[in-house]
Structures are given as C-alpha cells and as structure tokens.
Amino acid sequence: MTRQPGTSGLIFNEPNVWDKSRDGRCAISLPRADVDRAPLDPALTGDAPDLPQLSELDVVRHYTRLSQWNFGVDSGMYPLGSCTMKYNPKTNEVQAARQGFAGAHPLAGEAFSQGTLRLMYELEQYLAEITGYAGVTLQPAAGAHGELAGMLIIHAYHAKQGRQRSKIIIPDTAHGTNPASATLCGYKSINLKSGPKGILEPDAVAAVMDEDTAGIMITNPNTLGLFEEHIKEICDIVHAKGGLVYGDGANMNAIMGVVKPGDAGIDVLHLNLHKTFSTPHGGGGPGSGPVAVTEALIPFLPVPRVEKELDTFKLVSDCPDTIGRMHTFYGHFGVMVKAYAYILSMGPRGLLDASRLAVLNANYIKDSLKDTLNLPYDRPCMHECVFNDARQKSYHITTMDMAKRLLDYGFHPPTVYFPLVVEGAFMVEPTETESKDDIDQFINAVKAIAKEAESAPEKLTRAPVLPKVTRLDEVSAARKPCLRG
C-alpha cells in the first residue's frame, strides 16, 4: 500500500450528553423493590447528582461517535517520544477480564484471593528478574507515583542512617516529573547539564556530589534517547559519598533483556507497566509504576507486601521501616494482570527482541530523516530520536506546524518541545510494534511535509484540516479554561 493512511470520511456531530438528556429516558429497568419504602436520615441525603437521562442507544452512539473523532494506537502509528505507545495485545484484555480476576474484591481476604496474590507475587519476581533487583512493589499507581515512592524510600534510607540530606542531583536530560518527586521529599534539586555528547559526564557529577546530597535521579536511556554510557562510574561516585542512585525506568523499553539496571549500580528503579509492558495508557486506562530495589532497601518498601509461605500467599504489613502505603489496597490490579499476560506471552527471548526492534526502528527513522530534519545529536540512539525545526525556520515553519500536519497524513504527532535541552524538539519513538512498511510510510509523510514547508507553508500553518476538530486555540484554553460541560 503506497497511499497515505490519512483521508476524510463521514463522521457525526455529537452534542454533550447533557444536551441529549430527556426526562424519564432510561437504559435499564430496575427490578420491583422487594422492601418497603423508608425515609433516609436527612443528614445522609443531598441533592441528586445531575446525571444525563439517556437510552442505551443514545449512550452507545455518543461514545462510538466520540471514538471516531479520536486517534488511538489501534487506528494508526502513535510515535509519541518518551511515552512508548506500543500496541497493547488483545490477549491482555482477555486475561484481565477473566471472571476470577475481574470479580476479585480487595476485601475478600487471603483465603479467597490466592490466585490474585500469586499473580502479584510472580509479577514482582518477573520484574525483579528483568531489572536485576532483589525486591519489587507493585503498589504505585503511575510512573510519577513510582518516582515518589522511590524517592520516599531513599529519604527513609537516609533517615535510618541517622542523618538526613538536603539535596538531590537531577540532570537536564531527566524526566520532567523528577524534580517534583524530589521536592515532595523535601530535597532541593541541583540541576546538572549533560555533556556535549548529550550524556552525563562523570566529572560533572563528582563536582556536585557531596555528603549533603541524597543521591542522583537518572533516566537511562535519557530523554534524548541516548544511553548513559558512564552509568557505572556515576553510580560509584554517588555511592562513595554515601548517596543512592534513583533510576527512572520509563525508557526501559530500550534495554529489556540487554541491561539490568540493578547490575549497573542503580539502587532504586521505577517501571511503567503502561509503557514497557504493553498495558493501555494515554486515556486508555490507569497506569502502574512498580518500584524495584536492592536487597538493602527492601525494608523500606510500601506495605502490605505479598509473601509466599510454603504454597500459600499472604499479605504482610509488619515492616517497621516501611514508607507506608502508597495507594488504597494494592495498586491497579487489572493493569498487573495485563503486564503479567504480556511477560508470559513474550518470554525472555520475546522481551529481548522487543527492545532490539524498538532500538532498530528508532535508528532507522533517525537515519532516514536526518537529511530532512535537523538532528542535534547525531549519534546511535536507543528507542527514540530527537530532531528539531532548525532547517524549517527560514520558512517560518515550526515543530508544532509539522506535528499538526502529520495528523492530516494519518499519523499521531510525535512529542514536541520536549526534552527542553533541544529547542523545538520533535521526538519520535516508533516502538517495536510498527512494521517496516508502516515506518516507511511515516518517513515518507515527514519528507512530504518538509517539502510542503518550502513550497506551500500555508498547508502546515492551517493544519490539521482533515480531523473533526482542527487547529485548537491552546492559548485561550490555557488562559481561560472552561472546566464544566
């Protein structure tokens, strides 16, 4: 197929559900009450919520129509850098919908929850094996929540050593949420510039690392999609001053089965099940941000912990040094089932191949497009590559214009204006799940857009023209947000 996937077609206008509401319209027939009516204590009652009244068909059409305006990984390539928008195999959903999992209740008690506890225990073991750690918690509900859990563990570790520290080192190629997690623990962020090759220089770390610094937060591969080649040396420098190394594992999709962060000397690592382990995200489902730690940090993990005693699984909360709970109950269990299904479907060899193909695909795009878009760091990349709009500046075309135009061609835009170390960044992460044919089509689309930037720039500044909703007024949306339907 040589035609671009983006085209126009019949879609439907659709009002807010409240506008479709009609008094008395209803989608269910409640069974006749088999108890007498009794008044509720007025203290327990209030105004009824303003719920729309709709038939089943109203509801189905509403959401089907909205979904037709949308762009998801099931409709097209979604090369959003730093987000790993890989395809989510449908078997994951099938497994999570099994009645034993879907119907599990967190208050059912251990005796009735052996299957769910076993899945959590085994998932922890698999993630520990993949990352090279001694212990894992599945409790954090998302990536940044995992970061916070990881930083609380580092904070608790220093408290236990008898002397709290006040600072944390954060490189400019780390994820944007890192300083927020550190600040919530009371640490002051010390920003560190990456070297000319886009990675950290050990000397720069040594210059700021002291005995008042709790440690460093490193994203590896970093947000330029580059592998931090001096990671071992940097860990040694931080450890020598009594600090700990936090690893942001959001980019783990580049190194599964190739590098174990635990072996490199990183003490705490969070994972995004919703990125690396193919569970839905970006509006498709809740996240899950497990945290893996070294043997020495296991006492600080959140409670309750799942433990195995003979053939029985149980929940243990008696851990005096724990940072406590990070979430009600045990985290997002449904997401865990999907990640577990993915790991078992792929096996060790499959996970290794996934990372290799993710890296190969990104390098293929980088090399195919580096004559079209400016490439600030022209080095072998990992799972993503970062271009910018320097060559299009003379036509007054920005990264935003090119990203919007990609929608007309049938591709989701890449990540734009991040990482901040690259001005006008255009950050592409194809993931392993795109075929070469689809990637070639994407490359051709970007090349065609770059030609339009020279010959017909108005096509870009007006873009997108095909989607139901065209160029949005993001400025008014941010300055004067309308938060009610």
Binding site: K393, M400, Y417, F418, L420, E474, V475, A478, R479
Partner: protein, 132 residues
Amino acid sequence: MKEIDDLNLPEDVKYTKDHEWANAEGDTVTIGINDYAQDQLGEIVFVELPEVGDTFSAEDEFGSVESVKAVSELYMPISGEIVAVNENLEDAPELVNEDCYQGGWIIKVKSSDNSEINELMDKAAYLEMLKG
C-alpha cells in the same frame, strides 16, 4: 520568531544570561523577562509569582512562566527581598508578551547588595552573548 536584530532591548536596563531584565531605582529593582525570552516562549498562559516578603539570593529560582510550549523557571538577577509582585499577571499573563518592560514587569525587589546589579550585562554584552 524575531531575528536578533529585531529584538526590543532597551539601553537603560541590565540583562542576565537567563534572559531576565533588571532596572534599579535606588535600591528597588524591577525585574521581568526580556523581549527575546517572551518571543522564544511564545504565548504565555501563566506566571507563577513569589510572595511579597520572600527573600532570594542571586540566581535562585523565584517563579516560573508557562507558555503553550513549555514551563520556564525565573531566576533572580540579584539578591534581595520581594517588595511587590505584578498581580495583574494573574488574570492577564499576556501582558508579558505585549509589554514585557512596562506592564509586563514581574517583581520588585529591595536589593541587599547594590553592587550586584553592576555585574549584570548591558545591552551590548547581552547581544554579544545571544549571537554566541
């Protein structure tokens, strides 16, 4: 975006490497971001201001400006205590884009060391830095 030669850079204020401007009247120094910074950021949608009474050292972060593209930290050109913040920016952050040296000022600081402002760049030195 503007070419360097088209930037509005008044002669009577001082500049920092992070693209703030500072203008001293006695020991009260008015601070904002310059034309290059507002132009690079694009349309500004939110300005995070410090509290009156806060004290900062030179190069400390005192707030941030958020545009559609990115959030950028604001750094103190000099050390001192915040004596006023531009409350108009809470409802009208676009003032920073429209009039960055007058209506779009961000903070006023009581300087704790009057010599610090002399260490900042004048227009010529700042332009030289921009041109690299």
